[in-house]
Amino acid sequence: MTAPAFDAARARADFPILATEVRGKPLTYLDNAATGQKPQVLIDAVERYYRAENSNIHRGVHYLSEQATDAYEAARAKVAQFIGIADQDEIIFTRGTTESINLVAHGFIETVFQAGDEILISHMEHHANIVPWQIAAEKTGAILKVVPVDDRGVLDMAAFEQMLSAKTKLVAITHISNALGTINPVEEIIEKAHAIDVPVLIDGAQSTPHMAVDVAALGCDFFVFSGHKVFGPTGIGVLWGKREWLERFPPYQSGGDMIEKVDFDGTTYKGIPGKFEAGTPHIEGVVGLAVAIDYLMGLDRKGALLHEAALLKAATEQLSAIDGLRIIGTSPHKASVISFLINDIHPHDIGTFLDADGVAIRAGHHCTQPLLKRFGVPATARASFAFYNDFDDVDRLVKAVQKMQKFFG
């Protein structure tokens, strides 16, 4: 017996914004790689938090503060469960993927990198997984090495193996490319790096929205992602790191909440995770993230992934049939992201044109300038699908692109 197909219509109904109109047209939201939409349960939870639960955490003895503290720590446990981690103290709340990577880079600058050490990243990284390592290299004399990608946007694993050496002190690589959709063989990367004791950071910003990720099974050393891309609030993100690393790193920011005891003769810090969470955190963000994660975990995620793959296949076939349309990123292992160009029409014009039909896509460099340079283009148009998109969305995208192609012809 086959399992029932994923019910996209039902999921869609959970996201009020998807029923709205923009520019007089029903919204066709295909910019999910930039940020996900928010389910009603999350909107309700954040509203309820402010209406009935607001309080600072880890401070008051009063009822609301205790409740807020409990909710905050329960969210930490929920995040640990979401990515398959047993030790919830290894979950650090940050502002997002960007801050998570910066925190790890800071730790490596302070405790690991020496002149001549090597940091290995790939050519398809988001700027958030490039610039912190460039700065780390400048500060310490370490050398940033970049694993190439081929013309399909597939990571060159032979080059990776060649570049990986005893000099490598960290491999930092994205699970899924936000610009091309390429799914990287992270299991193999981690296995190869660990074989010579090199730690690995996985940027999960684009994988967590699409698939259930079991970080413990992956076995990496750091895993980072953003709340807003998993249909949670903006301004909240997650760093998971192995306890040994997090304990070794010095504080990233300092002040209230992260201390054990402050004295002018010397201050001692909390253990993890408190050591890395200075100041009043984004409490409603954490509360909202837990609700969004709960929502995701309640979905049939395998079914959702199959549904997204079907959308990707349909959109790829129909777009490819359009005269002059070229897809950048044709890896056989791909998430539901399509970067494309049409003749010499600039992506910015494509974006504006589709927007007039209510079709929201991204046009630009997607914070991956080195990658686009590799493909010889300054920008692409990108449509990215989530589980709540449906075949009508594909249809509207394709029709709008056809119309535009005729217009600019």
Binding site: R23, G24, I345, H346, P347, H348, D349, T352, F353, A356, A363, G364, H365, Q369, L372, P378, A379, K403, F407, F408
Partner: protein
């Protein structure tokens, strides 16, 4: 297609985009500058030969969207043979045309082809595309070659 989109991509704009005037490198340019919009990756180079106070020659090269390219092409036509002072007036008028808070419909007829840029102001995300060539021209004036 919506009226606003029609106003944005008027035939004049499309024509300048397809057949940009004064396009290409300029030998013996006296002033040159590169303009870049990090938001979308639009890039443009404006080359000028200034003789005294006069724009004797002006050319541009660009990897950019239709709005930016058309604006640049129309700019070269508007500025060729003009004094620096006149060119600055022209820049100021284009800025006014693109100012969403201003109703410029009354005096638009005096602007010739440049009036086509007024359609851009309904698209706030695109205004920078139209102004980039003009800012780059200003930078070129401050940037003598060699």
């Amino acid at each position: 297609m919506s009226d606003e989109l029609h106003d944005l991509y008027q035939s004049i704009i499309l024509d300048h985009n397809k057949r940009p005037r004064h396009y290409g490198a300029l030998e013996d340019s006296t002033h040159t500058a590169e303009g870049y919009n990090p938001l979308c990756g639009d890039k443009i180079n404006v080359h000028v030969i200034l003789r005294g106070e006069t724009v004797e020659s002006i050319q541009f090269e660009a990897a950019c969207c239709a709005i930016c390219k058309a604006s640049a092409s129309m700019m070269t036509e508007a500025l060729l043979g003009q004094t620096i002072e006149n060119s600055q007036h022209a820049h100021a008028r284009v800025s006014e045309l693109l100012n969403a808070d201003k109703d410029t419909s009354a005096d638009i007829s005096e602007e010739g082809e440049l009036a086509a840029l007024a359609g851009v102001k309904k698209f706030p995300a695109r205004i920078k595309c139209a102004t980039l060539p003009w800012h780059t021209f200003e930078s070129a004036l401050k940037n003598p070659v060699g």
